[in-house]
C-alpha cells in the first residue's frame, strides 16, 4: 500500500464514455495484483473531496492503467487530465483474484465497466497457460466493453450486439459447452448482475470469484464505510475495501 504522485502518461478514449488513464508509478505497478484497485485524489481542491476507487486494469512495466466511465465530477476531472500532470494515487488496495484452484478454463464474466479488472487478470492467466473464455454484457453495443479480452461472447439487453439478454443468461445458454471442462468463473459488474451470477454459480456449484463494489470513504480499512454481509459470520461485516473487493462467490451476501 503506497501513496504516490503518479504522472499521467496518457488518457485514451476507447468507447462512447469509456476512457483509459495510464499512470507512471513504479511502486504501485510493481506490487499490483489482478483485481486490486487504486484510490485516486482527483483534484487538489475539496471538489471532489474524497478519493475515487478504480480497479487496476493492467500493468505495463512501471506504469499502470485504469479504465473508467465518466459518470460525475471525479471521473470527468480524470477524463480531462493532461499528459505530464501529477495525480495523487493510493494503492494497490484490497485483495485481488486468486489464480489458484484446479481449473483448466477461466471464464470471465463482465457487466459494463466491470470489464475493467480483466485485461490484467487475463494476462496473468495466460502466463499460467490456462484457457480463457470471456463473456461481456451491457445495456447496448456501446456499453459492452471487450477491451483486451479474448474468445469473447457478447450480450446486450437490446440485442444490438451479440446475444439479446443479460450476460448471465448468455453464460447459461453456453454453459453446456463448458460442462466437461474444469472451469473457474471470474465476475465483475453491477451488483444486480453479480447477484444473478452468484445464484448461477452456487446452484451449479461452480468455483467462482466476484469483484464487488461499495461506496467508500477511505479505501483502506479505517472508516468502516464499505461493509458487506458475510455468509459465515453474521456477527461482523466484511469490508469491501480490505477483505475484498474480490470475494469467493460463497463468502458474501450481496446487498
Amino acid at each position: 500500500m503506497f501513496l504516490e504522485n503518479a504522472t499521467v502518461n496518457s488518457v485514451t478514449q476507447i468507447g462512447t464514455n469509456v476512457f483509459l488513464l495510464n499512470l507512471q508509478s513504479d511502486k504501485i505497478a510493481k506490487h499490483a495484483k489482478p483485481g486490486q484497485f487504486v484510490n485516486i485524489k482527483v483534484s487538489n481542491s475539496n471538489f471532489p473531496l474524497l478519493r475515487r476507487p478504480f480497479s487496476i486494469c493492467n500493468v505495463e512495466g512501471d506504469s499502470f492503467t485504469i479504465m473508467f466511465i465518466s459518470v460525475g465530477g471525479g471521473t470527468s476531472a480524470l477524463q480531462n487530465k493532461q499528459r505530464g500532470e501529477s495525480v495523487d494515487v493510493m494503492g494497490p488496495l484490497g485483495n485481488g483474484f486468486s489464480l489458484a484452484g484446479n481449473f483448466d478454463k477461466a471464464v470471465i464474466v463482465a457487466g459494463g465497466i466491470g470489464a475493467a479488472p480483466f485485461p490484467f487478470l487475463i494476462r496473468e492467466l495466460d502466463k499460467t497457460g490456462k484457457e480463457i473464455i470471456c463473456f461481456s454484457g451491457g445495456r447496448s453495443k456501446n456499453d459492452c466493453i471487450t477491451y483486451e479480452m479474448k474468445n469473447v461472447l457478447a450480450a446486450t439487453d437490446d440485442g444490438s450486439f451479440g446475444f439479446e439478454g443479460n450476460v448471465v443468461q448468455l453464460l447459461g445458454s453456453e454453459i453446456n459447452k463448458l460442462k466437461n471442462d474444469r472451469i473457474k468463473i471470474f465476475g465483475c459488474g453491477p451488483t444486480p448482475m453479480l447477484k444473478s451470477l452468484q445464484q448461477f454459480c452456487i446452484s451449479n456449484s461452480f468455483e467462482a470469484e466476484i469483484s464487488t463494489e461499495s461506496s467508500m470513504a477511505c479505501g483502506f480499512g479505517i472508516c468502516q464505510g464499505c461493509p458487506i454481509e458475510s455468509t459465515t459470520n453474521k456477527e461482523k461485516y466484511l469490508l469491501v475495501c480490505k477483505d475484498g473487493p474480490v470475494f469467493n462467490v460463497n463468502d458474501v451476501e450481496l446487498p
Binding site: L50, S215, M216, A217, C218, G219, I222, C223, Q224, G225
Partner: protein
Amino acid sequence: MSAIDLSVSIGPLTLRNPILLASGTVGYGNEISEFVDLNKIGGIVTKSLSLKPRKGNSPQRVVETPSGMLNAIGLANVGVEEFLKTKIPFLKKFDTKIICNIAASSVEEYVECTRLLTGEETISAFEINVSCPNVKEGGLEFGNDKRAVARITEQVKNVSTKPVFIKLSPNVSRISEFALAAKEAGADAVSAINTLVGTAFDIMTRKPKIKNITGGLSGPAIKPVALAKVLEIRRNVDIPIIGVGGIFSWQDAVEFMIAGASAFQLGTVNFVYPNISETMVNDLILYCEKMKIASLKNLTGSFIL
C-alpha cells in the same frame, strides 16, 4: 532539531504535539500506521468502544456531500474485551498517547467499559462519546441532555484516575452549557465537535443515500461551525478544549488553536491524505518560526477580537 516547543497539555495529559487522530477515522491504528509514524504525533483516539462488539449499520454507510461527507457507521467496533486482547498489543508498540473513546447506551455501560479499560497502562486517557442514544430513557441522545452528560462524567471519573474528556455533540443551542456541566462533574477537558446531523436523498429513487436515513456530517464543510463552538466554549467556560471538525490543513489546525483549542484531532482528512498528521508537524514548526512563537501552546486562545 528545531528550537520550537510543540508540546501541549490537555489538563493533566501532556502531548508531544497537539496532533491527535480522531475517533472512528483511524480504527485502532493498524492501517494508518502504514502511512504515519505514530511516534511522531501527539496521540490517537480509538474507534468508539462499547461493552459488547457491535456490527454497525447496514450499507450504504457513507456518501460525499459538498466539501464534506455523511456517515452512519453505527458505532461498529470490536468491543472492550477484544480490544484489550487484540488491539492493545499493537498500540503498545508506539510511544504515543492512546486515548480510548467509549460509546454506550446506558450510564452503567459507560462506567463498566471504563472500569474494564482503566487498568490497561497503555491507555493514557478516555474520551467519552455522548452522541449516542440513551436506550434506557427513550433513545434521545445523552449529548442533548445536560444532566445525563454530568451523570456520565461523574460516574466515569469515579472508576478511573485517568484524564476523562467529554466529546460534545454540536447539535445543541449552547454547547458551552454542556461544557460547563462536564467541567462541574469533573471532566478534564472537552472535545468539540462530533458530527452534525445531516441527510441526502437520491432524486431518482427518492430514497435516502444513507441506509440509516440520517448520518453525521464531517469534513471542511463543518469547520466554521466547529470553530464557533470551540470559541463559544473558550469564552464561557474555563476547561481545556480539544478542537475537531473539518481540519484539512495545518492552517485549519492553527485556526482551532487560535480559537481556544489546546490540541486538535484530524478526522475525515485521514481518508484523503492519510499521512497529513505526520507532515503537519513540520508545517507547525515553520509557522511558529515565522510568527516568532517559541512554544506552540501559547497559540491556544490567542485570538484578538
